[in-house]
């Protein structure tokens, strides 16, 4: 073959190789060559009940009710974070009380875990979103473990849960809470916990690992699961609507500061008692609105949306939750016609 022609062929091969390499690198980065990689799509799909997800709804914590109110900061937390909503004052809040179920029509007494989503906005534009639940520790120590739990709990294999529990000894503490903790018949009586650790940065730049809780002002009244079931499928929403209509309901925001030896990357490990706590202020819930008409419906309570002065720690969950919540948000907004904006239009 004459020289110039071979060189043209060689050049074309080189160009094809460059393009192929580009496509391959892109496909690898996108995860197409590694089907075992845990993605938000897989995680969110695993949450769906056997009949498929409820279109237009959150893929988890699908049953909920909106609230608005204020966060009344007392200024104490400014000692550990420069976040603007810790300066003494009142800040507007949009939130959502909810149940950890992918079914928006689940009966309240069938759902063990309750949650709260809160968005606090500061006048300087800083926004703090959080999503807390009521168990004292999380069920699993890694996002992969959470996926394994979802797989096991929906598996047709009767041995699947046993296998999961054997492989995940950290599940025991959550399991103990889920089976033994008393029920209450009101959202207002629930203490909610961040479980995940975040890093607070104070005015001098010093960092503190923190978990936080919302402790109810209402005194919890235990009720048996059987008596709770008699109150009806939607009792929690009816109860909180009535309570808030008669007077605002309050929770104290309590920050717990880790000792240097405390684990921050594992939400199944409670920090030992006696840690420094700071009461940062009070969440005041002033108005309840149904989700379809309410201001919380289209808010993604992504726990990595944080003000200056708070950032994620080495806890792997906030990132995994952010990715999964974004996926859920993208899905449900594209299905908005299945869950119309107002309650009136949702009911034919």
């Amino acid at each position: 073959m004459p020289g110039p022609q071979r060189s043209v062929l060689g050049s074309l091969v080189l160009i094809a190789a460059v393009v192929t390499f580009g496509v391959g690198a892109f496909a690898y980065t996108a995860g197409w060559l590694t089907p075992n990689r845990l993605t938000s799509t897989k995680l969110v799909s695993a949450l769906a009940p056997p009949g498929g997800p409820a279109l237009g709804h959150r893929r988890n914590h699908a049953k909920g009710v909106c609230f608005t109110g204020t966060f009344e900061a007392n200024g104490n937390a400014s000692a550990i974070s420069r976040a603007s909503m810790f300066a003494a004052g009142q800040y507007p809040v949009v939130g959502r009380l909810n149940l950890a179920t992918p079914d928006p029509n689940a009966a309240d007494p069938t759902v063990r875990v309750r949650g709260i989503g809160v968005q606090i906005s500061a006048p300087d534009g800083n926004v703090w979103r959080m999503a807390l639940i009521d168990p004292p520790v999380f069920a699993v120590s890694t996002p992969q473990g959470f996926y394994d739990l979802l797989e096991a709990s929906t598996s047709k294999d009767p041995e699947a849960m046993k296998g999961f529990i054997a492989a995940h000894p950290e599940f025991a503490a959550f399991g103990e809470w889920a089976t033994k903790a008393p029920w209450t018949a009101s959202y207002a009586e629930v203490a909610f916990n961040s479980l995940n650790a975040f890093i607070f940065t104070d005015g001098s730049g010093a960092e503190h690992a923190v978990r936080w809780s919302l402790r109810p002002e209402a005194r919890p009244v235990p009720i048996t699961a059987e008596d709770f079931a008699k109150l009806g499928a939607n009792y929690l929403e009816e109860d909180i609507t009535k309570r808030v209509a008669s007077s605002p309901q309050r929770w104290t925001l309590v920050l717990t500061v880790a000792d240097p030896s405390d684990p921050t990357s594992d939400p199944t490990k409670a920090w030992p008692p006696g840690r420094r706590t700071v009461e940062a202020g009070t969440l005041v819930v002033q108005k309840i609105e149904s989700e379809a008409d309410g201001p919380c419906r289209d808010i993604n309570f992504d726990p990595t949306i944080l003000p200056d002065g708070i950032k994620v720690s080495d806890d792997p969950f906030p990132a995994a939750r952010s990715a999964a919540y974004a996926k859920s948000y993208d899905l449900r907004t594209s299905e908005a016609s299945s869950y119309p904006r107002t309650e009136a239009s949702a009911k034919p």
């Binding site: 043209v8 980065t29 995860g31 996002p143 289209d298 993604n300 792997p316 990132a319 990715a323």
Partner: protein, 180 residues
């Protein structure tokens, strides 16, 4: 004004902008597909980088467009077949549209989702759209599919540049390479 007919290279400013943006855009596309396929801890910094770099590309693209109007471009070789000339013009139009359009779509998409838009260093951008499910869903799809079109166009651009440099040897590649 430079006389376009005698111009054999892009100006130094144009070449610096081109290569800076080449790195930025490739990084951007890889960060984009990488972050949506991971739930790892890197998701949070990748998302922050994606937003910050996106706005940087938007600003650079607008600067570049202005520079292009002022400095012009070297002419394509006179013997280049008309279909290839047309392809060259259309692909550049597409690249500019995406360099400017993708960051704007991303920004609008985050606005429609009512996410606070915070860049590296705590820089906050105002929303450019009110909250809207429909707009979010539309913009999300546009951002997603156009990203693949963008990557395909970048690869075509790269292949064409190499074709000019290695096969046709017509001086087109050299207009963007370092040198006098």
């Amino acid at each position: 004004m430079t006389d376009a007919s005698t111009k054999t290279r892009f100006t130094t400013v144009q070449r610096v902008l081109h290569w800076l943006m080449a790195i930025g855009i490739l990084a951007m596309l890889f960060i984009g597909v990488g972050m949506v396929s991971t739930i790892g801890r890197q998701y949070v910094p990748l998302l922050l980088t994606h937003k910050t770099l996106g706005i940087a590309i938007l600003v650079l693209a607008l600067v570049r467009l202005v520079v292009r109007f002022i400095s012009g471009t070297p002419p394509l070789p006179a013997d280049l077949p008309e279909p290839m000339k047309l392809a060259a013009h259309l692909s550049h139009l597409g690249l500019y549209a995406l360099m400017i359009g993708m960051p704007l779509i991303g920004w609008a998409m985050l606005s429609a989702a009512a996410y606070p838009i915070v860049l590296y260093g705590g820089i906050r951008l105002p929303p450019i759209l009110p909250q809207s499910d429909t707009m979010h869903a539309l913009l999300w799809s546009a951002h997603y599919y156009l990203a693949f079109a963008f990557f395909a166009l970048v690869l075509m651009h790269l292949a064409a540049a190499l074709f000019h440099g290695l096969v046709r040897r017509d001086g087109v590649l050299e207009t963007m390479l370092p040198g006098k």
